[in-house]
């Protein structure tokens, strides 16, 4: 760990102007700093800002403070009742101890668990642009099959953001100049392309203050995560689904996927394959075809392609029953 300056912010404005890397729960950043994968000159501690409440809005949606811990969010009765997919995704993530500490805003920004990203002796374009990608040609069991580039095949490791993507969450930020913006989660993350080190659209000093969930929809909720052990393991594949069936026809479907891409993945073609159709294996296979169109394995992660197909089909069966 390099020496760094530390400042505690007493307001959102002060935090955005402090000119440092934000830290809240620190469950990811501190690990990365110890390994010098991240070497911030200055940490701005935002953990005491007044951003730890969950409020109902007039439109029926929820506004979640960026500092609400994962465990609190998962246990909130309104979340359990109306955004079950989010509660389930949260509880599928990390471990009890980590969920107590990890925050909503921080979890959105969790960095990849790529082994080569974590090892400073390895080439990694995300950690050190231009140093190559050792995951390609190496061990890539946990890596992406969709939206990859020849520069990076890392995955976003989160569960919560996958559910939020299915729920069309909006990320509310404040910039150093005081401007606030509302970024739909679908526009928030970036694919790796030639700049895998740039993972989202946040600008320097821009702080996530809230996450807004739109008014709840009526569909059935499901979050299913496939992993190498029953807890404290990142998703090999996960699916967040909110699906409505009326009179034997799928009338609405929102699906997002984890463990397959550089960001919580959502593809309108998957939903288009479902909406207006009767639930059937043929329909589900068409959805899987749409999801996996162009999917590419890199050797040790090839199994994710059949795994994703099977899991999606079983999940759709369950959620349309």
């Amino acid at each position: 760990m390099k020496t760094f300056d530390y400042a505690r912010a007493d307001s959102v404005e002060a935090a955005t102007r402090a000119g440092g890397r934000f830290i809240a729960g620190g469950t990811n950043l501190l690990d990365l700093m110890k390994l010098q994968v991240e070497t911030p000159e200055k940490l701005v501690d935002i953990s005491r800002l007044d951003l730890n409440t969950i409020e109902e809005r007039e439109d029926g949606g929820l506004t979640i403070g960026a500092l609400v811990p994962n465990s609190d969010l998962a246990a909130d009765p309104r979340v359990i009742a109306k955004y079950e997919v989010l509660s389930r995704a949260l509880l599928a993530g990390a471990s009890g101890q980590l969920r107590n500490k990890a925050t909503t805003g921080g979890n959105l920004l969790q960095r990849t668990r790529c082994y080569y990203f974590y090892d400073t002796a390895a080439g990694c374009n995300k950690r050190q642009p231009g140093s190559g990608c050792e995951a390609i040609g190496g061990f890539n069991r946990i890596h992406a099959i969709l939206g990859t580039s020849d520069q990076c095949i890392a995955t976003h490791p989160g569960d919560m953001p996958v559910a939020m993507r299915a729920l069309d969450a909006v990320i509310v930020t404040q910039k150093a100049d005081g401007d606030k913006r509302r970024v739909p989660i679908g526009d928030f993350y970036r694919l790796p392309g030639d700049t895998p080190h740039i993972e989202n659209v946040l600008e320097a000093g821009e702080l996530i203050t809230h996450v807004e969930l739109p008014a709840p929809t009526v569909g059935r909720h499901l979050y299913r995560k496939v992993r190498d052990r029953a807890s404290y393991a990142f998703a090999l594949f996960s699916v967040a689904a909110v699906v409505t069936v009326e009179d034997g026809i799928i009338t609405a479907a929102a699906l997002a996927f984890g463990g397959v891409a550089h960001l919580p993945w959502r593809n309108p073609a998957v939903e288009a394959a479902l909406v207006g159709k009767a639930p059937s294996d043929e329909t589900f296979n068409a959805a899987a075809d749409a999801l996996l169109d162009g999917a590419t394995g890199f050797g040790t992660n090839d199994f994710k392609i059949p795994l994703a197909r099977r899991t999606l089909i079983a999940s759709l069966r369950e959620v349309t029953q």
Binding site: T3, Y118, D119, R141, V226, D228, S231, F303, P306, R310
Partner: protein
């Protein structure tokens, strides 16, 4: 029996070499009633309150902090260690390299010589080549990241499969690499039923909670090293040899060890680096290896490729048994994973072949990890036995019953005790085995396929020379001193129980002092021999004290009863404290003898597992597990049970999750933290039941106990693999059985 009672004032000794059976044991008298009881660990309160001092926790004046620097390449020669930038950082004291003296890799357990030294030529990625010492840990860690190791690369061997054809047979050691009897090929050709399958297991890491750590301090030319080590006496010799000093100049103190599982049997790089730095700087140096360094540069269990051949007659009786293993290690290191060791005596078969060969790779050292040999060997053998049972069409327990040997089939000697079949039978009863339907893939509940499996457990028992001193004070307290270690197993507690039972003292009147190399040398913790060996030395010392007490009381020792701090004989009762006078001390020493050659000594068990496999994803969840074990006298039912629970949990890891991955391009450990090296977590572990059979082994040692620490892992993973087959009809022979390996064989969704 060689029994020497040497009276030299207070320096009394009592020694026993196990040449003959030793039927008598004071522990059977049951007078004090503490032996065998499920007592809490005596050091438990210290541990849970943070007062137990682990290696890196000793307060030392003028302490400096060392952080190790690795070679960031898989094979090559260092041309320079560029450290100017690191040295100039605030708080940095020095960056030290010593190519000839730094150790290339840790030493194996029990060796008396230094491990392979010399790091200018690097043989594996992550080899420790320098140490940065600073006033603070943080400064040292930052500086270590600024050190640049420059090198000329060399070609290396990084892929097991690419070099498996160049395997060589290691020289005979304690365990012979090769054993053959009869003609296996003919037996296979003539067999009514046969199995010829290859099973593979990956590299594994002990992943002990406490990383390897040392504080080195030189005083008057002698080194005191607080370290996290399992075998203090031989570790001292290794360290002295590595440093080029007399063995009397090194004292290791290892009072508490936060898990070892074999990874701390021999000295690791941090001890030598800390000692060299401390000497050069004339300051104490502390080094705790980072978790990633533990994965990179300590010791792994070797990966294995095991070919099992079983030849059976029409009734399933084995006529031939072959177990050929390929393991891997660094060039020049002859330790081989003895996967066939349990196969020597597990089952009868006239024609036998057991073989081990080594593939030389530029991967970190391989060495002993919990139940070296059986832990992975039985993953293969016991899965093959399950396959054979299906072929013959009989129950897997019945198959084992039909192949139960009357005597040790390798050495033609009797078993000291052998209760494999009673373990299987009792387990079958407790588990409800008779309800099982044999055919696989017959129990689907929604998306889950359920199945059950069984496997035998065998684990060789060993006795090692071990000494302990017991002092009986004038206050009526017993103080046990030995360099024996407690690596979380319960040594403190069982030694206190043995002393309390033998001397008729309440447990609270016994103090056990462990892990100090200045105390009498013990067997250390390894090979499951700790309790039997160290426990016997304490027992012998106490037996000597009984004689002294009888003499002081003026009665025959056989006529004296010791209970609750009182000696009772001839209608008199005297306080032991009074009889002890100014204190009396006896040093007990146990040594192995002819008994281990005259009998096959081993502990046995049976594992039963129920699993469910998700038919969509191939994810496996263990629903319940049962282990039934016979291991001689159980010294403490609670710590023994915990040992078995831990072993079975390791077995779940070996079956389902644990795999140390080496990068094919440079041999580097890819998954070098606990997030990505998957040991089972709580959610993976179901209800586990443990039962013990009553047993005494009079051929093992005077306390009649046998090793248990490694028995629980032996065969455990195979029971799970067999249950997975029963659930799915899919036989995966490549451990761990992760979902991707099942996926292709599962029914379409």
């Amino acid at each position: 029996m060689t029994l020497i009672n040497k009276v030299l004032g207070r320096e009394d000794t009592r020694s026993l070499t196990m040449n003959e059976a030793h039927p008598h044991s004071w522990l059977d008298a049951g007078t004090q009633g503490v032996i065998g009881k499920p007592l809490d660990r005596v050091e438990g309160p210290l541990k849970v309150s943070g007062q137990a001092t682990y290696a890196a926790e000793y307060p030392v004046e003028r302490l400096s902090y060392g952080v190790l620097v690795r070679a960031p390449f898989g094979s090559g020669k260092i041309t320079d260690v560029v450290a100017d930038a690191a040295r100039s950082l605030p708080g940095v004291i020095d960056v030290i390299t010593d190519y000839p003296s730094f150790i290339r890799n840790p030493q194996q357990g029990g060796e008396k010589k230094a491990p392979t030294q010399g790091v200018e030529k690097v043989d594996y990625h992550g080899e420790i080549v320098a140490i940065v010492v600073a006033e603070t840990f943080e400064a040292a860690r930052d500086a270590a990241a600024q050190v640049k190791v420059e090198y000329e690369p060399r070609e290396g061997s990084y892929v097991f499969a690419a070099h498996r054809d160049q395997a060589d047979r290691p020289p005979p050691d304690q365990i012979p690499p090769h054993m053959a009897k009869g003609d296996l090929d003919t037996a296979m050709a003539d067999a009514a039923f046969s199995i010829d399958e290859t099973y593979t297991t990956p590299s594994q890491n002990s992943a002990a909670m406490e990383p390897h750590a040392s504080i080195a301090e030189w005083k008057d030319g002698a080194l005191v090293l607080h370290g996290s080590y399992q075998m203090v006496a031989s570790d001292q010799m290794q360290l002295a040899a590595a440093l080029g000093v007399g063995k009397d100049k090194v004292r290791i103190i290892s009072r508490y060890v936060g898990g070892g599982f074999g990874s701390k049997l021999g000295i690791a790089p941090e001890s030598v680096a800390a000692a060299i730095a401390a000497k050069r700087l004339d300051r104490p140096v502390k080094v705790a290896m980072a978790r990633q360094q533990v994965f990179d540069a300590t010791v792994r269990r070797s990966n294995t490729e095991q070919r099992i051949r079983l030849a059976a007659d029409a009734h399933g009786k084995l006529t031939g048994l072959g177990h050929e293993t390929l393991a891997s290690n660094l060039p020049g290191e002859d330790y081989f994973e003895p996967a066939g060791i349990g196969t020597q005596f597990a089952y009868a078969a006239e024609n036998r072949l057991i073989d081990h060969k080594l593939v030389r790779l530029n991967w970190l050292l391989s060495g002993s990890m919990r139940a070296p040999g059986e832990a992975v060997g039985m993953l293969a053998l016991e899965a093959a036995m399950d396959e054979l049972a299906y072929k013959v069409g009989i129950d897997p327990i019945e198959l084992r019953r039909r192949n139960e040997p009357a005597i040790d089939p390798t050495n033609d000697v009797p078993f000291s005790t052998r209760q494999l079949i009673p373990c299987l039978d009792k387990g079958a009863d407790l588990f409800g085995w008779s309800d099982r339907k044999a055919e696989p893939a017959g129990d689907r509940r929604g998306e889950w396929l359920h199945g059950t499996g069984v496997a035998a457990a065998v684990r060789s028992n060993m006795l090692q020379k071990s000494s302990a001193t017991v002092e009986l004070t004038g206050e009526g307290r017993a103080i046990v001193s030995t360099d024996m270690t407690d690596i979380g197993t319960g040594t403190y507690t069982i030694l206190a129980q043995i002393a309390a039972e033998t001397l008729g003292l309440p447990l609270e009147s016994v103090t056990v002092q462990l892990g100090d190399g200045a105390a009498p040398p013990s067997a250390g913790s390894g090979g499951s021999w700790g309790a039997g060996s160290s426990g016997s030395s304490v027992y012998l010392a106490c037996e000597g004290l009984r004689e002294k007490l009888a003499k002081a009381m003026g009665v025959e020792v056989e006529a004296m009863t010791l209970k609750d701090g009182r000696a009772i004989a001839e209608n008199r009762a005297v306080d032991i404290a009074e009889l002890a006078g100014d204190g009396m001390t006896v040093t007990g020493t146990i040594a192995p003898g002819k008994q281990e050659k005259l009998h096959r000594q081993a502990s046995y068990g049976a594992h039963f597992a129920e699993v469910k496999v998700n038919v969509t994803t191939g994810e496996v969840r263990v629903e319940r597990m049962l282990g039934v074990f016979s291991a001689g006298r159980i010294l403490n039912e609670k710590t023994a049970r915990s040992q078995c629970l831990g072993g079975m949990t390791f077995g779940i890891g070996a079956a389902l999750t644990e795999e140390l991955v080496h990068d094919p391009r440079n041999g580097k450990v890819v998954n070098r933290d606990l997030a990505e090296y998957h040991v089972p977590v709580n959610a993976d572990i179901p209800q586990i039941e443990v039962a013990f059979l009553d047993e005494r082994d009079i051929h093992a040692n005077p306390i009649h106990a046998k090793g248990i620490g490694e028995l629980g892992i032996s065969g455990a993973g195979a029971a799970i693999a067999n249950a997975i087959y029963h659930a799915t009809g899919v036989r995966v022979r490549d451990y761990p059985i992760t979902c991707d390996k099942l996926l292709a064989e599962l029914p379409a969704v």
